[in-house]
């Protein structure tokens, strides 16, 4: 050890004074911030509040514009019914987006599964519970296909689901022959398929089981994401997949499980959609993929993965529902509704960005 000249116990000599070194590390300072700054700072700590506030604000604005009809218990519960399906899809979509993916096929999976359940239960006389089980298995399998393409073939999720979207769309047309299954036929053969259309009524308010299912789905997923190890792994994988892998997470297995769960949620949404629509329509929800993404991003979940609360997607879906209902009640043309939703997306995410700015 000839190089250790002048060293103290192996150390290099210049390190001798380290024992006396100062231990202060971080300093904080509170300059003056101004009104906007204060709000920004407040929300920065609780980013999930942002969509809640946007929701409250839109409810308030439309209440003013569209009058008391907007505020009626009937209308408020109606909005919940109307967003219940897109809300469920947004829940599935959030799972995928949290892993830094995107799923263009959620609505196609849902419609395909409703067609499968309907074909089995109504046209082929299979008992409804069995038909539903097949649909659930089918949704999970569709998710498995997406998940395997993403993890094993290593295709980007956007491309994977662009491809499977086309595939599921074609299968749906093929299985349904483009024919809807009528409400009355479902009632006769398998009323169970429509159970989520039933409602609890409190005076004017009609809370369908479908709306409750949506809230319950978000609740369960929130629980899984926040209270279990699996949930932490989902966030870790979305945050930095390579780091998660090295830290000892089976990232591929986690990803596949996420896609399968999302597919399963789509299949549940399929069941709920039969209750909501009344019949089984292979043509419905063509825009559901993009609508679910819209809800998720308005809800403040980052498209880059790993950040955001799944509850944001619930608020995002509700915000869109409130907007559409409010604009319609205010007598705005469909055309300008589309226009307004465009700006809503941009504004909501812009606010979110502003809140999250590091310099908050």
């Amino acid at each position: 050890m000839t190089d250790k000249t002048g060293s103290t116990g192996g150390r290099q000599e210049f390190e001798g004074s380290l024992a006396e070194s100062d231990t202060r590390v971080a300093r904080f300072e509170n300059g003056s911030r101004g009104m906007a700054g204060t709000i920004q700072h407040l929300l920065h700590g609780n980013p999930t509040l942002v969509p809640v506030i946007v929701l409250a604000a839109s409810v308030a604005v439309f209440g003013l514009v569209a009058g008391e009809r907007f505020f009626s218990p009937f209308n408020l519960t109606l909005i919940m019914q109307q967003v219940s399906i897109i809300g469920m899809l947004a829940a599935a979509q959030s799972l995928i987006i949290l892993t830094a993916g995107i799923d263009l096929s959620v609505a196609a999976v849902m419609v395909l599964m409703s067609v499968i359940a309907g074909n089995l239960a109504v046209k082929m006389g299979v008992p409804a519970p069995l038909a539903l089980l097949v649909a659930f298995a089918g949704g999970t399998l569709a998710g498995l296909l997406n998940g395997l393409l993403v993890t094993k073939v290593k295709l980007p999720p956007f491309i994977t689901t662009l491809g499977t979207w086309n595939i599921f769309f074609a299968l749906n047309l093929w299985l349904s022959g483009a024919q809807s299954i009528r409400s009355q036929d479902i009632d006769a053969a398998a009323p169970m398929l429509k159970v989520f259309g039933n409602a609890l009524e409190f005076g004017e308010a009609r809370i369908t089981y479908g709306s409750i299912l949506m809230f319950a789905t978000f609740g369960v997923l929130w629980f899984l994401l926040n209270k279990t190890a699996w949930g932490r792994h989902v966030y870790a994988v979305g945050d930095d997949k390579e780091a998660a892998e090295l830290a000892g997470i089976r990232t591929d297995r986690t990803l596949v499980s996420v896609y399968m769960l999302a597919g399963f949620v789509c299949a549940i949404a399929a069941w709920s959609s039969i209750g909501r629509v009344g019949s089984i329509s292979p043509q419905a929800f063509y825009e559901g993929n993009l609508q679910s993404i819209t809800a998720v991003v308005i809800g403040g979940i980052s498209l880059f993965g790993g950040r955001g609360s799944i509850l944001g997607a619930l608020f995002g879906a509700l915000i869109v529902g409130v907007f559409q209902s409010g604009l319609r009640l205010a007598g705005v043309d469909v055309l300008w509704q589309v226009f307004a939703i465009g700006w809503l997306i941009i504004l909501a995410v812009a606010i979110d960005q502003w809140i999250r700015k590091v310099s908050a």
Partner: protein, 261 residues
């Protein structure tokens, strides 16, 4: 060096990345209770070697034995379950997750009873307490909030979390890939102290470093890696830093004795 049986050995490890051969029939031996330093030029294959040992990459050829039994890790989690903890050069922390979450990732503690077994609910309190204990036990840093996101920590603090995680869970072997590269004098010193503490607990350590004074200070043996394989192993008590540098850069041929070490 005196222990008869190495705890971890590798023989003839080969790893190719496309046309680059990162590991070219590399050997490796780690004995119980020792600090083994691995040194070598940039690109010599040091990180590849420890990745192969820790399951982060699967070697194309070669054999790895842990406590004499052949093992074949296909993911870091398997190596971890076998008691090998690694701090990678890139740290492998999830920036958006909290310190606690990062420390426990992949081995979370669940609540006792039904809540844990059936509902698989995490026992946050237990995990936080453990994490706080470990961090202060190592005296490594003054973390204000055990639940703050890792991305809000300074580089040195992050390195500390990664090292603490390895030290807390490594039961058989701890591997550190350039743990002090980005650290200041002060912070580096603390990591070196931690390494000595861990050895004192009887756990052998593999330390990759470019810092010769550090290496010569703490290492019991020095594995010199060159052009994808182990060139030789030297005893820091018998060789100078100059020797080590000359060997690792190819300025000098290894002595016959060292080759066999």
């Amino acid at each position: 060096m005196t222990a008869p049986q190495p705890i971890l050995t590798a023989r003839g490890i080969v790893k190719r990345y496309g046309r680059v051969t990162a590991l070219d029939r590399a050997d490796f031996d780690l004995y119980p209770g020792e600090i083994l330093a691995v040194i070598g030029d940039n690109g010599a294959g040091k990180s590849s070697l420890i990745k192969a040992i820790s399951g982060a990459i699967t070697p194309d050829e070669g054999e790895i034995r842990l406590e004499g039994k052949p093992v074949r890790f296909t993911s870091p989690i398997e190596a971890r379950d076998a008691g090998i903890e690694t701090v990678y050069q890139t740290l492998a922390l999830s920036p958006a997750l909290s310190i606690t979450d990062n420390m426990f990732v992949g081995r979370e503690i669940r609540k006792p009873g039904v809540l844990g077994t059936w509902f698989r609910i995490l026992d946050r309190k237990a995990m936080e307490d453990f994490a706080r204990d470990k961090l202060s036990e190592l005296g490594l840093m003054t973390i204000q909030n055990i639940n703050q996101a890792v991305e809000t920590l300074s580089g040195g603090q992050r390195q500390g979390v990664a090292v603490a995680r390895a030290a807390a869970f490594g039961s058989k072997v701890i591997i550190l890939d350039e743990p002090t590269a980005a650290l200041g004098v002060n912070e580096s010193r603390r990591v070196l102290e931690l390494i000595c503490d861990v050895r004192a607990r009887g756990i052998p350590i593999v330390l990759i470093s470019h810092n010769m004074p550090h290496v010569f200070e703490v290492a019991d043996r020095i594995h010199i890696h060159r052009l994808g394989r182990r060139l030789c192993v030297i005893d820091p008590g018998e060789h100078t830093m100059s020797d080590a540098v000359a060997l690792m850069t190819g300025a000098k041929e290894p002595p016959a004795s060292a080759q066999a070490a």
